[in-house]
Symmetry: C2
Subunit: 317 residues, 2 copies
């Protein structure tokens, strides 16, 4: 798309324009040095460090010749280190692939490159990292970076993105990351599941197949219990994770079918006054969701009890 | 799928079974040595040389951990050599990627791995080789190897395969290879176009958009004229190419719309007695197609002339 000169909007500043032109030139130069094996590692690192500077970086990465294929090559070259019996995944290799993943994230987040990125099925190349169950540090970094790419895709409410995520079976990958990831990975994975759930099709996907529903509720419950056991409930990163967990429970309680399933599967600690106080102090925005969740579940429970009471004499009769 | 022991069919031979087990073991060992940078080039070469030996090679390549990603990595690592101003694509690099492409061909040809190969969109990674217009020898080898993968996909009449080829726009890639490829590449590309044309959807794809139809007819005509100019009509590889060209013309003449378009676009040499004699001696199977082609075109021409004659007085009146 042709961009009008910024002068027209009265905000143009010659020195700023010169600075931005220099910056674009340096990004272009770094992208060019990806072509050389000797300079590639450093170029990917510098690009990944500076990704926030220039909005135009995503289209530059996507449309320059061969760049995405070089990043893809970096990513798939690590597959064979994932399941090696001897620890082959060093911190250096992990950092290198994480830098490439950060550039993928940049492409996934930009509205102009998000759909081409999905249409080329590139997110699928991250699934081996999400299906990996190794908990060592270099693996955790790659898991988090991969989840961040998927998170960047899911951030905008676009049914096409959710359809792709459902069709490409990202759900079991998220469940696995919620099981084996560190707190940050668990948080991003739970966020992705929440973004799937707020889509009607996504809610149906999770609630109509019993295995999916129970896998999700089991992992949500075990994350809450693990944080409680380890005394991490009041810690800052855990509060963010807990908030995402509550969002998921709340959204599940909006489907009558899964609301029934939640009745006896919500961890007791959620209704504990001390727990609610943690939220009141740490992140009050989650409290209404928690209240609504209990309202939905108990309301449905009492309705079911009423129906049961009505049916009982008929059945007996 | 479980395979019954071959003994049941009375063809089992202990020494042959032992030989085959040894062979499978050596294929598995070669696949394992792909994981090592030092042994990879030789392993790909040996696997590609022996692809015909074992039917099971395709599933072994497809389902073993990381193998396809290693082959893909080999393939995409050559992209940056394609458009380099200095000649970077040496014979050695070209041979190496051709070996990887031969293994892709093995996967594309096998009924059990063909559809997963398509669903993973792996054929798309060959398109940069097909859109390349460089005519030097290392480039010609890669072009031919890439076309052979697509040819292996298209060989079986499966509408799902044709749909994939149409959606992924293989047609312009084939036209380009028919323009810039050597005789073998031209032959495979024309064969792929013919396999598209014999599918109803494929014929519609080529005939309803004028640009596609004219691009195809133009390139078919120029291939015939070029072979005639260079005096290669009676040579063996050229006869195979000419046969595929005639199949394409013949199939186009079966659609009323494109038959009209063919009327004044068939190279005159096709109706030359000496030309038909070349076929009578070299490959008589093409002669009926050639006759039918002229029958369709002339029949339609005379029908159109009759209609024109009928309409003329009305228009004048």
């Amino acid at each position: 798309m042709y961009r009008w000169p910024e002068l027209q909007f009265g905000s143009w500043n010659p020195s700023e324009a010169a600075y931005r032109a220099r910056e674009t030139a340096s990004v272009v130069q770094l992208i060019e040095s990806l072509n050389n094996d000797a300079t590639r590692e450093r170029a990917i690192h510098l690009l990944s460090k500076n990704r926030a500077i220039r909005e135009e970086m995503a289209p530059l990465l996507w449309y320059s010749v061969g760049t995405i294929s070089i990043l893809l090559q970096e990513i798939i070259s690590v597959y064979r280190s994932l399941h090696s019996p001897i620890p082959m995944l060093t911190d250096r290799v992990s950092n290198r692939v994480c830098d490439a993943l950060v550039l993928f994230q940049c492409v996934a987040a930009n509205p102009s490159t998000k759909m081409p990125f999905i249409e080329a099925k590139l997110p699928l190349y991250l699934y081996p990292f999400l299906n990996n169950t190794n908990k060592e540090r270099p693996h955790q970094f790659i898991r988090l970076a991969s989840l961040s790419v998927i998170g960047a895709l899911a951030k905008v409410d676009d049914p096409n993105v959710i359809n792709f995520l459902l069709e490409s079976e990202v759900f079991p990958c998220c469940i696995r990351s919620m099981e084996v990831g560190d707190v940050l990975s668990k948080t991003v994975a739970t966020y992705i599941v929440y973004k799937i759930l707020i889509n009607e099709e996504g809610l149906r996907y999770c609630c109509t197949v019993a295995e999916r529903f129970f896998a999700l509720v089991r992992v949500l419950g075990s994350m809450v219990l693990k944080l409680a056991e380890e005394g991490q409930l009041a810690e800052n990163p855990s509060i963010r994770l807990l908030k995402h967990i509550i969002w998921c429970y709340h959204r599940l309680s909006e489907s009558p079918r899964s609301c029934d399933g939640l009745r006896c599967r919500l961890p007791v600690i959620l209704s504990d006054a001390a727990f609610i106080d943690i939220f009141r102090q740490g992140d009050p925005s989650a409290v209404p969701h928690l209240q609504q969740l209990f309202h939905n579940v108990s309301n449905r429970t009492s309705r079911i009890q009423t129906i049961e009471k009505m049916i009982r004499p008929l059945v007996k009769g």
